[in-house]
């Protein structure tokens, strides 16, 4: 498994306590699990996602990722409506391991309250949280 200093954590993304990432640069927020999460889980064999049109409140469980070791829930970083899901993951769940920020994104959400985005961590704050 990777050392904390070896993790790939892009500067332009926001992070959560539960190791999700969120790309908040556009009107629609793209969400996935970060390098730390995919590395800890090990080889991912199945990804369960919600349906387009589902709505969630911040912190709700919106799906799960199954690795050889365990099934883990994934939590939504912001409230809103799902407007896109990564359908490629159905046949190629390994994309989450190989490319967690590009080909392995999970869902796109139209945020209900953009003020919630301010509560997410930047890279420095997330790294500080990981190091405890």
């Amino acid at each position: 498994m990777k050392e904390i200093n070896d993790l790939n954590l892009p500067d332009n993304l926001k992070y959560t306590d539960d190791h999700e990432w969120a790309d908040t640069s556009g009107d629609v927020v793209t969400i996935g699990i970060n390098d730390y999460a995919q590395d800890q889980l090990g080889e991912i064999v199945f990804v369960e996602l919600p349906e387009v049109g589902d709505t969630f409140s911040k912190g709700d469980e919106f799906g799960s990722v199954e690795s050889v070791k365990a099934v883990s829930e994934i939590y939504i970083p912001i409230s809103g409506e799902v407007v896109g899901i990564n359908e490629d993951l159905e046949d190629a769940p390994e994309l989450v391991n190989e490319s967690c920020y590009e080909g392995g994104w999970l869902i796109k959400v139209k945020p209900e309250d953009t003020a919630e985005l301010d509560g997410l961590m930047d890279k420095a704050a997330y790294l500080a949280m990981l190091k405890g």
Binding site: Q40, V45, F46, V68, A70, E94
Partner: protein, 485 residues
Amino acid sequence: MDQRPGTSGLIFNEPQLWDKSRKGRCGISLPRSDVERSEMDSSLTGDAPDLPQLCEMDVVRHYTRLSQWNFGVDSGMYPLGSCTMKYNPKTNEVQAARQGLAGAHPLSGDQFSQGALKLMYNLEQFLAQITGFDAVTLQPAAGAHGELAGMLMIHAYHAKNGRQRSKIIIPDTAHGTNPASASLCGYESVNIKSGPDGILEPSAVSAVMDEDTAGIMVTNPNTLGLFESNIKEIAQIVHAKGGLVYGDGANMNAIMGIVKPGEIGIDVLHLNLHKTFSTPHGGGGPGSGPVGVVKALEPFLPVPRVEKNLDTYAFVNDCPDSIGRLHTFYGHFGIMIRAYAYILSMGGKGLTDASKLAVLNANYVKESLKGTLNLPYDKPCMHECVFNDAIQQQNHITTMDMAKRLLDYGFHPPTVYFPLVVDGAFMVEPTETESKEYIDQFIYAVKAIAKEARNTPEKLKNAPVMTKVTRLDEVSAARKPCLRG
């Protein structure tokens, strides 16, 4: 001295029965019919089932060879934590095969089934006595089914009281099936974390317990193998708000004869006869998950109930508040016979001693391997102990690698990566039926493997090498399952 039980030997390949099939080959020979052939109505006939054509020896060798690839508690130690893979005494099988029991028919009616009904009634009484509950049902087919039965009764209890509730509290050290059982009753799980020493703190429960919460599901001892010592206080908090306490009794093997769950605030509890009461577990036969309840929940037990009037026994269906029937006929009767045989042959003192030895054995393993493996919760354990791979990670060796290498040493691996509260968990439950000699062999094997992890880690990465099949590609199997032969 190398005292590992595992060694190499000649193992036979064996194709599938379809590949052995040869047209016209047959295992029986019937005499030529001396009765004139009579054609049946075409509506009653059809194509014969398509079965492989084999002689008796083909079939005997097939299954004998498959059995030789297998590993069971009859071949070696099977320390699968949370599963209680104890030895199944052969007397259980002798009793279950007795003609009067094996030949009993579920449609014979009460008057011709008095012996079977008496056995069920007595087994319910024994289990009630062991657990401290007022009544027991034997109907659920296994542990998770017992959980569902228990949760349905909690649901029925709240409905009867006139106000249904919407939530249930489930700690992170509960068994994994608990949230599923609660969801099937329409309850939303409220997850709470155990405290820093691995057990539940009353404050965590009181923070979330309210009058919309149906109750709490507690596994005690929990999946870290630790006794929930705050259980009485937790039960009081839940009861004060009108909730009920569900106890997962899967770990009853640690406290049988020592603690009665019915006396520490638990309202409903399932047992696993295939764990605690030595009936076959996993692939060896069906399970059985009896449920014990306090007086207030008795009206909700599944039907039919077994009742005794003077010296006769009868099935009773007239229970208007019952959650109904959960299984065809009366549950897995053959398994009840085995558990009954076990209880009678052990006796009260024997059952208590079994729990004491199960706990002693687990603590012996824990103390012996502490330092060799990392022990996240270093305190006296119950019937199982949970290590992890934090020390071996320095050499990039994981719990999975060590588990696979244990196969080469002749042991079934322990439970791995569960419970989730321990990262890289390696969960050992030796059970009371392993002698000190066998347990010492296991300890020796784990120590030898830890040494290999430091000096020759490739041996672990490639393990197992002595088994019929070596390391399987579990990732491809899960990602691209091949579901047809």
